[in-house]
């Protein structure tokens, strides 16, 4: 029983890292007022770039870095349209996702079925990994998982306890006031959009280097969209993002568990649907619980800023 729990827990954490990284990135972007619906596309580009760099260099760190940067660069396209050109951010984000799908579909063709060259193996942390159950669940993961653990408090501290974080949040609430205070709104928003892209790109690289090593067309399977939904669940707070991501990972782990044990308590196709169904259910509850309270999202989310008015 305990072993089963450790097994499920380990896979749950493993399955939640990509969503967690992408959610953290999107939280930063949305806090500054930029809604980027291109997460799915940026994740795909990050995943492909990770594999390609891995094959070319054989260096896992370079591969992960390249994946993150690829996501960041793609995010800058959205940044240019959303921040500089001030177009509709929903459309620009959707276009970014379609672009990511298309670009990876044709650039990734030669890599299909190829060994990734590198893979990020589980790296037990000496000492911590030997703690019963908890060690198995949390400390026998890959490097990127540990990085994600660290990024959660870092993101939170950065957003809520530093001056820059205050500026970011202010840009997302009332850009005109930030501008009047002599702070460059566009620069903040560009940096945050880029950061969001880094998170999504890294999330994609995690999928293609650690989770299911190798490249497969549309291998993200909607995790980018789940991440955007989890931003709402987390009420734009990095600490709460952990809960959302772990919840998604847990449902994925249950699928593996039932498959491995051969029990079919719940039909396989229902299990496959569950992460998506429950993400919607979560959004319903978050909205119902928030009724009457003031705080929704950043007030200026999705609203372009221009001095010309």
């Amino acid at each position: 029983m305990i072993e089963d729990l450790a097994f499920i827990g380990q896979i749950a954490v493993k399955s939640s890292i990509a969503v967690l990284l992408a959610t953290l990135g999107e939280i930063v972007a949305e806090r500054s007022g930029v809604l980027n619906l291109g997460v799915e596309g940026m994740m795909l580009v990050g995943a492909l770039c990770g594999v390609a760099t891995g094959v070319a260099t054989g260096n896992p760190f370079l591969a992960a870095t390249a994946g993150a940067l690829a996501g960041g660069v793609l995010a800058l396209v959205h940044g240019f349209f959303a921040i500089s050109l001030r177009v509709n951010q929903v459309l620009s984000g959707l276009a970014l996702t379609i672009l990511g799908l298309g670009v990876t579909s044709f650039l990734g063709r030669p890599l299909i079925g190829m060994r990734p060259g590198v893979r990020l193996q589980a790296l037990p942390i000496p000492g911590l990994a030997d703690i019963p159950v908890i060690g198995d669940i949390f400390f026998r993961q890959s490097m990127l998982a540990y990085l994600a653990y660290l990024l959660v408090p870092i993101c939170w501290y950065f957003l809520f306890r530093t001056g820059t974080g205050l500026k970011i949040r202010a840009a997302g609430e009332d850009a005109a006031a930030v501008d009047a205070a002599g702070i460059n709104v566009a620069r903040i928003r560009y940096l945050c959009t880029f950061t969001g892209g880094l998170g999504a790109g890294l999330a994609g690289a995690y999928l293609s280097l650690a989770y299911t090593p190798g490249w497969k067309e549309s291998m993200t399977g909607g995790q980018g969209w789940v991440a955007i939904a989890m931003v709402i669940f987390a009420t734009w707070n990095p600490l709460r993002a952990v809960i959302g991501a772990f919840f998604f990972g847990g449902l994925t782990a249950l699928q593996f568990y039932f498959q491995a044990v051969g029990v079919e308590l719940i039909p396989a196709y229902i299990l496959k649907m569950l992460p998506y169904i429950l993400t919607i259910v979560v959004m319903i509850f978050v909205n119902a619980g928030r009724r009457g309270r003031r705080f929704g999202g950043p007030a200026a989310l999705g609203i372009p800023f221009s001095r010309e008015g």
């Binding site: 619906l37 396209v77 349209f81 050109l85 001030r86 177009v87 509709n88 929903v90 459309l91 620009s92 959707l94 276009a95 970014l96 379609i98 672009l99 799908l101 298309g102 670009v103 579909s105 044709f106 063709r109 399977g221 909607g222 969209w225 789940v226 955007i228 939904a229 709402i232 039909p267 196709y269 496959k272 649907m273 998506y276 169904i277 993400t279 919607i280 959004m283 319903i284 909205n287 119902a288 010309e308």
Partner: protein, 366 residues
Amino acid sequence: MAWRIEKRPTSLAPAPVWAFPAALGFAVAVGTCIFAALGANPLAAYWVMLTGAFGSFFHFSEVIVRAIPLMLTGLAVAVAATMLLWNIGCEGQLVWGGICAAGTGLFLAPHLPPLLVIPATIAAGAAGGALWALIPGVLKAYLAVNEILSSLLLNYIAIIFMEHLYFGPWRNPEGYGFPGTAQIAEMGRIPHFFGTRIHLGLVLALVLAVVLYGALRTTRWGYRVRAIGLNRRAAHYAGFKIRRHIVGVMLLSGALAGLAGMAEVSGIHFRLQQGLAVGYGYDGIIVAWLARLNPLVVPLMALLLGALIVGGEQLQAVLHLPASISMVLEAVLLFGLLLSEALSRYRLVRRPPAANSDVTQEEEAT
């Protein structure tokens, strides 16, 4: 004489005529770069795409075949977006339209009078899509759940369910293990024209485009929908029942997408199988916005995207270039449209040379 760029005095300036040609030009330019980067002659590649799409009556008929579902999903996105609702779930609604049409054709048809089979199939397809769109509609109207995310996540659920059906309970027992349902009998298939694969869906889509255009311009319902889209608060104070309109418009939008799925199943595949959910729902978003949400323009833009898809397939067949280039070009087309929209907020003005510092003004304006 000096030129300068200045912001248009009003933000309500009508959409410029050149926005679409500019977007098309942008996409062609980016496509040229892509072809060149892939080591292909861009002129040859575009020639293959053009002749592949318009080179013969047969090729053009295939463009129309692709355009039919795009017209319907384009209309679906457009009608919702007129009210500022984002229906990103057309793919799932299309799938449900297909499931219901296939179910009717396979299991209900033997019990129906032959004349009723096709009307029942069409109605089932529309109903399937509408009911699937009802979920995000109700969630949006009564619980303020973001319809972009809910409708999109429902796509994945619909596709998993469809796969379950044709891999599992609906699988053709005589299909030699091939994943897919049995074929729909002849009487359950919608009629075809001119000896091609062009089917009744075309008539349906064109009629619906005209009807929607008329309804949005001339009826009281259409006025309300447009008013809510333009200014929700004002519409609320005018006493319009906004929640009811959200649910109603989502139902209509879903029904249109469902018809696309119905037409694919009863007009093209004749069974439920892999290849129904190939992204027509997402392409509908591009079609709708290229058409600037005008239902009468939607069929034209659907033809353009259909030509792009067929042309992309020809690239693969003739030049062995990946067909997914057409998907990249679709995204670039949308970006191009956004770009020209942004530029259209400004205008070029010719001014007599002024004594004072026009130069600095110029710099500021750019």
